[in-house]
């Protein structure tokens, strides 16, 4: 019981000292620090900070230039990512799906694999992995290094500084601007990036709402559907501009939901969490270009890609299995689609889309190939695709459109798919990351369920209003 004696003494002493212990202690330490520093530090220069730093800071946080510079930089980064990733993505797809895939199949054949083993391994697991790598690797390998360069230079804290006032209105932290931007690259990385937010409440807000940033895995879906269905509404000359505008609107809608949900969370569930705001604006430091690129590839890109692969492989297996295991005179996938169809149609979607989102939880990248495969399978279209359970994509946008239309897609289906692609549960990589970061089942559940409920409601209302109006 000697420990109790110590604790009792300390409680008595705390009562005697009263409040302000922490204040007095900190003051004491700082005044010691001042004495020691005075003894050994001699400042010859009068300049408090670098001239360059100050003048640059005045510009990037100025009333006139602060916001335009920010928007410009973010747009350039996103543009470089989306445009720049196209070519390497195509190359990777050609290599992994066009060359390696048939080669693997033929090896399987020569080794005498039975059809189900070869199907399970190559059509299921391998294809899912190949797709995730082809679609995910190039944009992340461009986005993360660019972002990291900005980070190392010291520009990002200034962005948080500029935007804090706006974010504060919805109960969030200025640094959430950065975790949101990071989310445009990858939500899992965005969630990890919330570590920079040192206030517990604001950090949880940033984690839960990160999914509303349209990630790299979803941009291609948005662009494809917008160009098939929305671009087609206007004369060909404007098609590109209009479909781009549609995609940007979806991204902006995501930002709108981020604000709304942040506000809702800070007023309800997160009311009692501790909150505090401070932000150091460090001096600018020139980043070391190659080193930054190297480390950001290792640190961010590969780690995220690895996690995605771990989750994508079993998903590929599941997709293949449900399309090839028969129940009655149909297979599991068909059976599920029939049962999901009613609910899907109520939401202005269909059973195929819902099933695709269920099995494609691991990665948004495989949603479109899965939808195409399932559509071809259920609508019994012949001549395209490579069989049940084998995901595919088509070179031609119009051919893809033909398949979808044959599967019963309308403009409403397209719009609601775009909305649902924004508003649904995070991919399993992100869910896992959220759990790792929060260590809380409660918040992981909230972060996973909340967006999909929102998605159901929004799609439902849009569908009903659409049907009344059209």
């Amino acid at each position: 019981m000697k420990t109790n004696k110590i604790l009792n003494t300390s409680n008595d002493l705390r009562w005697q000292i009263g409040e302000g212990f922490h204040d007095k202690l900190t003051e004491g330490i700082y005044s010691d620090a001042a004495t020691i520093a005075q003894n050994s530090v001699q400042k010859k220069g009068d300049e408090k900070r670098f001239r360059f730093d100050r003048s640059l800071d005045k510009i990037v946080t100025s009333k006139i230039w602060g916001f335009p510079i920010m928007i410009l930089i973010l747009s350039v980064v996103l543009w470089l990512t989306i445009i720049g990733a196209n070519y390497p993505s195509g190359l990777l797809a050609d290599l992994l799906i066009g060359t390696v895939y048939p080669w693997l199949k033929s090896i399987g054949e020569s080794l005498g694999f039975s059809w189900w083993l070869s199907g399970f391994l190559f059509d299921g697991v391998y294809l899912a992995l190949a797709w995730v790598i082809a679609v995910m690797l190039p944009p992340m390998a461009i986005f993360f290094p660019l972002f990291t360069l900005l980070e190392d230079f010291g520009y990002l804290p200034r962005v948080a500084f500029n935007l804090d006032h706006l974010l504060k209105k919805s109960g969030a932290h200025g640094k959430q601007a950065l975790t949101m931007s990071m989310g445009f690259g990858c939500n899992a990385a965005g969630v990890i990036a919330t570590r920079i937010i040192d206030s517990p409440r604001e950090r949880l807000i940033a984690i839960i709402t990160n999914n509303f940033s349209l990630c790299n895995g979803r941009w291609p879906t948005q662009i494809l559907i917008a160009s098939i269905f929305i671009g087609a509404l206007v004369p060909e000359n404007f098609a590109g501009a209009v479909s781009t505008l549609a995609v940007i609107s979806i991204a902006l809608l995501g930002i709108f939901f981020t604000f709304m949900v942040s506000l809702f969370l800070s007023k309800t569930m997160l009311k009692g969490e501790v909150s505090s705001f401070t932000l150091e604006l460090p001096p600018y430091r020139p980043p070391r270009f190659w080193k930054t690129i190297y480390t950001s590839l290792i640190d961010r890109t590969l780690i995220v890609l690895w996690r995605a692969c771990v989750f994508a492989a079993p998903a590929g297996a599941v997709i293949w299995l449900i399309s090839n295991i028969a129940i009655g005179d149909s297979n599991i996938a068909n059976w599920l689609i029939v049962h999901l169809d009613g609910f899907g149609l109520l939401l202005g979607l269909n059973g195929v889309i819902l099933l695709a989102y269920i099995v494609a939880i691991p990665a948004n990248e495989i949603v479109i190939p899965t939808i195409l495969m399932l559509t071809v399978m259920t609508a019994s279209i012949t001549g395209v695709g490579s069989g049940d359970g084998v995901m595919f994509e088509l070179e031609s946008v119009s051919a893809t459109g033909d398949i979808l239309k044959a599967g019963g897609w309308t403009l409403l289906t397209a719009i609601n798919l775009m909305l649902f692609s924004l508003l649904h549960n995070p991919c399993s990589t992100t869910i896992y990351t959220i759990y790792k970061e929060t260590k809380s089942i409660k918040w992981t559940t909230v972060a996973s369920i909340l967006p999909i409920i929102l998605g159901f409601i929004v799609c439902f209302i849009v569908a009903q209003v659409w049907r009344i109006m059209v």
């Binding site: 300390s10 002493l13 010859k44 220069g45 001096p283």
Partner: protein, 256 residues
């Protein structure tokens, strides 16, 4: 691998190993464990990379490294395990990263703690230094970013500083690897006991508080004569630090 314990000290090493294991550090075949602490934005990760040759990402952000990074190096035939702690302004608050850093220095008992400070902003950085010196007396001050300080025309008399703080001070510019060999050597000397530190203890504390600290410290020392940082524990108890109260209840900090 297991040898028969021949002396009392072998036992204490084992005890420490198990304590470190609890904190997630496996000391394997390393002779010494070195912790790397410091404020955010002091180039701490750059020092880490310079020492270990690893390529850890060094963001220009406060609180970049929330989890601990680990690496190793050899010097003079001794193996060192280097643990990079999260950058913090202080060890007195209760935020997650401060707790990680504080717990490691207090419970992990590293053989040496390297404290990285920004030479151009020494006074502010000393806040953390003085707190760490209350916990451990085996520390080396790494006066980093000397190049930046030079550009700002700030002169630092590192001998006076070393005398005032009671620990060795090594000026470095980790980016250009300047001063890193000296740092390695100094860490080695502190680890082997060649250099004995006599760290500065916080002085400017109001009398009534100091009396309370002394009273509690004596009580802790009579109950647990071997606790090296009784004053720090007294400080934390008076501040109502729940983690330390818990540690006193379980006797966790007594691992001699």
């Amino acid at each position: 691998m297991q040898k028969v314990t021949s002396s009392a000290c072998e036992g204490c090493d084992l005890n420490k190993a198990s304590n470190l294991k609890k904190l997630g550090i496996n000391i394997d075949n390393n002779n010494y464990v070195v912790a790397l602490a410091g404020n955010p934005n002091t180039g701490k990760s750059t020092v880490f990379n310079a020492l270990t040759g690893l390529k850890q990402h060094t963001g220009n952000w406060p609180g970049k490294t929330v989890t601990r990074a680990e690496g190793g190096y050899s010097y003079n035939d001794k193996k060192y395990k280097l643990v990079d702690l999260p950058g913090t302004y202080s060890l007195l608050s209760t935020s997650q990263d401060e707790e990680v850093a504080r717990n490691f220095i207090l419970f992990g008992k590293p053989d040496v703690t390297i404290i990285v400070v920004d030479a151009s902003r020494l006074e502010r950085n000393l806040n953390l230094v003085l707190q760490i010196l209350e916990i451990t007396d085996k520390a080396v001050l790494c006066l980093n970013l000397m190049d930046e300080a030079k550009r700002l025309q700030i002169d630092i008399d590192d001998r006076t500083l070393a005398r005032d703080l009671g620990i060795p001070v090594v000026p470095t510019s980790a980016r250009s690897k300047e001063g890193i060999p000296e740092l390695l050597q100094t860490v080695h000397q502190v680890a082997t006991g060649e250099i004995k530190c006599k760290p500065h203890r916080i002085k400017n504390i109001p009398k009534n508080i100091n009396n309370a600290i002394e009273k509690l410290r004596l009580e802790i020392e009579t109950e647990y004569p071997n606790v090296p940082n009784s004053r720090w524990i007294a400080l934390r108890l008076l501040d109502g630090d729940e983690r330390i109260i818990e540690a006193v209840k379980t006797g966790e900090f007594i691992t001699e």
